[in-house]
Symmetry: C2
Subunit: 203 residues, 2 copies
């Protein structure tokens, strides 16, 4: 589904959505040119990206703002509730459990999993922390579709294997190891330290 959109275009859609939701003073229309200028992107690129959604731009006036927002939200599945779980309730995991921004994308973070008996059975950010050994049953029970891996590097592969086994098809991985998953599953690896290092090389 939606595999025809280039990843780079897909990555820009939330950026357009954020921009549209945080700008504007009640204007009804917005042009691709205005979006392009505000975000320092090419206008043709913006039009191509937005063409993947159901939004229809009109000559001269551009897009109806509310329609464009709705089209982006629809494309990104924001109105489509999906359940996520956080694996590893350490510093980063705890921060994500308390983070309010997932709801904008229809993502409902329902639980965390950890191996620390001091955390298991408790709550963080109002979400229950379960034993990682119960992940198989609990992810099925809670119908978890998305997972964020925040465990130390040495545990990340094992957690990913469990997730694949449970059919959790989308995994965001913050552990600094490259995780590979079978076809039909997607993983995105975000190594914070590597990202910062890369920035320092390019500046």
């Amino acid at each position: 589904m939606k595999s025809d959109i280039p990843v780079t275009s897909l990555q820009r859609l939330p950026v357009y959505l954020n921009y549209l939701k945080t700008s504007g003073n009640g204007e009804q229309y917005i042009s691709s040119g205005a979006i392009a200028r505000a975000l320092s992107l090419g206008e043709v690129l913006v039009r191509k990206d937005l063409a993947f959604t159901s939004a229809q731009g009109r000559t001269r006036v551009g897009y109806v703002r509310e329609e464009l927002i709705a089209a982006l939200e629809e494309y990104l599945g924001c109105n489509n509730r999906k359940t996520a779980a956080i694996f590893g309730a350490g510093g980063l995991g705890s921060a994500l459990l308390s983070y309010g921004g997932f709801g904008n994308y229809g993502i409902d973070v329902v639980a965390a999993f950890d191996n620390d008996s001091a955390k298991i059975g408790g709550e963080i950010g109002g979400k229950p922390v379960f034993d990682i050994n119960e992940a198989r049953e609990k992810t099925r029970e809670l119908d978890v579709k998305l997972a964020v891996i925040c465990v130390p590097a040495k545990y990340a592969k094992d957690v990913a294997d469990v997730l694949v086994d449970c059919g959790v098809r989308a995994i965001l991985n913050f552990a600094p190891v490259l995780l590979k998953v079978p076809e039909g599953f997607v993983v995105r690896n975000i190594d914070v330290a590597a990202n910062l290092a890369i920035l320092s090389v390019t500046q």
Copy 2:
């Protein structure tokens, strides 16, 4: 500097480095083909990426592992100490202050900045928390070259403006707003919720 390397190649260099550092059983050589297979990448691509570093592959045997690791570390500036600061000592900021992985890339996180008087003057992860209003003087005093923005969305632009003003040229931004910086500065925006939403669209 190093502006000739495509961003996508640059982003893969830490992945190669991580792989090389966590694999191998004392073998002296590693071929581009072996790296490509392990990471599910094309062999030509791997060779092209590695050609940006000073490593020299040899016909049939490949790269000397230790030389390739050293070349990647040199390219990524891992042996080149640089000072970073965390802006926003909330959940994510605190997690990053306690995270040990920055040292692998020569990044020394030295301080945090926040506007919460309960945190200012204290320490998190052994790092001092300063008043955000002192950012101008402190970043100069500490020679901060890199910054990670972990403040709520509404404060992110102000923090970025201060950083630009202080000449902190590389910024990693976790606030869910698109930050723009003048030429000569680089910013990388990582919106965790958007990343997870994108994953759920593609799977």
